[in-house]
């Protein structure tokens, strides 16, 4: 009983089992979520209730719809910074083509509800198509292209509302955005449908496989005969349309359409995707991860309101959590790489 094997003493690290290494990106967000729920449950009496669960789900729904499209984009190793801008513009477009109260001083063009919705959908589609064109035909990196689009969308919003606030949207939109089906808000149902559809497309369809392959190794996808331009164009348009729909419902949910009202949603939706563990380098992750990320952020934001801390400190705490998630994201990538060398 005298000799300790030398290898054991020299190798204290790196003994993480293989299955954990390869699943790090899925396990970490899940563990974070459990820990957060446990913490807030213990720290606050009002956190754990059915009513509050409903709150949390409602609060993450608009972000959730945007994050579906963004997941496609990030899986392709691209980024879309224009999601919130497009959401805002689309929400304003739909209000612009709806009859507003006489007190609203917007020179709007009242149309039938369905027509307003179609025009709004067409506009987010077009904005997405412009993103796609810039990325795949002109060759502008998505980071820059969508940064420009963010500005363009803000410009469209500004021109249409001119500093005013519109309140009315078509009844279909206001039902889905602000009413409930029994105890469940419609907006939660819509978000769930989008997440489910996104998951089905990514996991069970040919297009979904191409998305993963394009993100995993674009050159190899091209040499395998995959039309990567078409795939990239499609994901940019999917992202824009998801954002547009999130924007319309968001306007109904907030009860008003105005400039800059979605500004925080850009960071929220990117955080949701990344905190969930979808790789920023493309090809790894999915909607399951995004759902985890949404729940982590939702529980965090909501839970912080239930405990008694400085509201300025909350901002800092959110930043720290985001940083931790980024570290884990990059670390998970590295673990996978060392495993596969």
């Amino acid at each position: 009983m005298s000799e300790i094997p030398e290898t054991a003493s020299l190798m204290p690290t790196r003994r993480m089992p293989g299955w954990l290494r390869s699943r790090m990106r899925n396990v970490a967000p899940f563990a974070t979520l459990i820990a957060l729920i446990g913490f807030f449950w213990a720290a606050s009496d009002s956190f754990a209730s059915v009513g509050n669960l409903q709150n949390i789900l409602t609060q993450i729904s608009v972000t959730g719809i945007m994050a579906v499209g963004l997941t496609f984009v990030i899986l392709c190793a691209e980024i879309d910074l224009s999601v919130a801008g497009i959401a805002n513009a689309t929400g304003i477009v739909v209000a612009f083509f709806t009859t507003q109260d006489a007190s609203v001083g917007i020179a709007n063009v009242p149309l039938a509800g369905w027509a307003a919705i179609c025009i709004a959908l067409a506009s987010c589609f077009v904005l997405g198509a412009v993103n796609a064109f810039g990325l795949t035909r002109i060759g502008i990196p998505s980071f820059i292209m969508t940064l420009a689009m963010l500005q363009i969308a803000a410009g469209i919003s500004a021109l249409l509302v001119r500093g005013q606030i519109a309140y009315t949207v078509p009844s279909l939109v206001s039902t889905l955005g602000s009413r409930s089906l029994g105890p469940v808000p419609w907006i939660v149902i819509v978000a769930a449908i989008f997440l489910l559809a996104g998951h089905v497309v990514l996991t069970y369809t040919r297009f979904g496989r191409y998305v993963y392959m394009t993100g995993g190794n674009r050159e190899a996808a091209e040499y395998s005969g995959v039309n990567t331009r078409a795939i990239l164009s499609a994901v940019m348009i999917i992202s824009a349309v998801c954002s547009g729909i999130a924007g319309m419902l968001g306007v109904a949910y907030f009860g008003s359409a105005q400039q800059n009202e979605f500004d925080t949603y850009l960071l929220d939706s990117i955080s949701a995707v990344v905190v969930g563990g979808t790789s920023l380098f493309g090809g790894q992750g999915g909607i399951g991860n995004t759902i985890m990320g949404l729940l982590v952020l939702g529980v965090l934001n909501n839970g912080l309101d239930h405990i008694n801390i400085d509201s300025f400190l909350k901002i800092l705490i959110r930043g720290v959590i985001l940083l931790a998630a980024l570290v884990i994201n990059v670390y998970a990538q590295r673990l996978q790489l060392t495993r596969s060398t």
């Binding site: 369809t205 496989r209 995993g216 190899a220 005969g225 995959v226 596969s340 060398t341």
Partner: protein
Amino acid sequence: MPRPLLELSQVSKSFGGVAALRAVDFELEAGEIHGLVGENGAGKSTLMKIIAGVQTDYDGAMLLSGQPVRFLSPRDARVAGIGMVHQELSAVRDLSVAENVFLGAQPLNRLGLVAWAAMRRQAVEHLQRLEIEVDPGARMGTLSLGLQQLVELARVLFSGARIVILDEPTSALSPPEVERLFGLLRRLRDEGRTFVFISHFLDDVLAISNRLTVFRAGAAVATQSCAGTSKRWVIDRMIGAGHEKLEESYLADIALPRCPAAKTVLAVNGLTRPGAFRNVSFEVRAGEVLGIYGFLGSGQLEVAHALFGHPPASHGSIILDGRSVRLSSAPDARRSGIAFIPESRKMMLFGAEPVYKNMTITILDRIDRLWLRPGVECRIASRHVKQFHIRPPRVERPLSTLSGGNQQKVALAKWLTHLPRVLILAEPTRGMDVGAKDDVVTILRSLREQGLAILVVSSEPETVLSLADRILIMRKGAIVREFAEEPISKDRMLEAA
């Protein structure tokens, strides 16, 4: 007798319960070139990665100059004077050639900043010792695979490492570069440096090495001085007796077969891309394997890429089955019935994805237009795994856990489920062991019987000689000679090139 420079004893390594190395003893003597041979997946790269500090989790002991060492990172190994050129090139594609030559060791000026001018100058000097002319400012990713391999060789050879591990360093080179490299290796050895040389070209290993070690299924089964050792002996140790036909070295003349007058499938006329190739014309008939041979940078790889529209040629016409086609992108080419296996595995494979997804990416639309059918995919992939003897035979394994040669087999398999009209192969046997190369010959023969038009493009003479029915030689972007229905040998071919 002096102590060996490097001693490994009882080194074992397993991946998730599967043994890759079993109690390996391995010694390197100072100032030798030590050859390492063995089948695909035998464990050569794994052992070398342990020595170079890339694989840190293993059992067993390592002594360097008699002192026990345990490297925890490649940097540890580098500090101890060990450098390695990896089988899968590790160059940084977005950096310049000069930066790659000095990766991790840039010369600094008095202010502690990178001395750019000095770095470029020294990079040029280093590259010139390998007799390569490249612009040191060029981006690495724009270089051909062979040049990238040479730049990596320059990086490690001139890094001052006293032990240099070369894992299949010649797999993308043509004979002139190999000769130059061997000359340089001999000179550096005589200056006292020590090399490990891994290759599946047994003639090369026997020619350059002082001693060689044969690996088989994770064990070092024999170590022997190369003088007087025959290729036959090596193959017997590697895969067992009874494989005489694998010994072929193509030194004596072989006869190219008479081609039956079948109809022309692919006709290329005056294909040109300035700076790469010019006025290339040829025809490939159904049931024929046409080989295009040329040294590094002769344009044969670029022609192959142009036939897949990636990137397309700027002038000339391509006629497929009697109809003129425009191939301006890879999807175009695939739709027209052209399949292409590029020379680099990185261009072809998805490391993080399982083997079966790598194999079926090209045929997903034929399985189902909308949905994925993983069951069908796995069945198709399992068939290929059997046909190509891919090991380990598990289609769910991530591709990157396969050995280099086995990855190459996956790359080959991916176009063979639904047969194309024209199959273009660039360096199809890169990194394959002798047995696997023979499998490729058999498979191509059977495809030829089925009437495919096959184009094999390579800068490695044996590949072309073992596969082709007719051979074109390219030099400086143009076709300079055709060999058809006549005797040919390696020497004759190299002379023409």
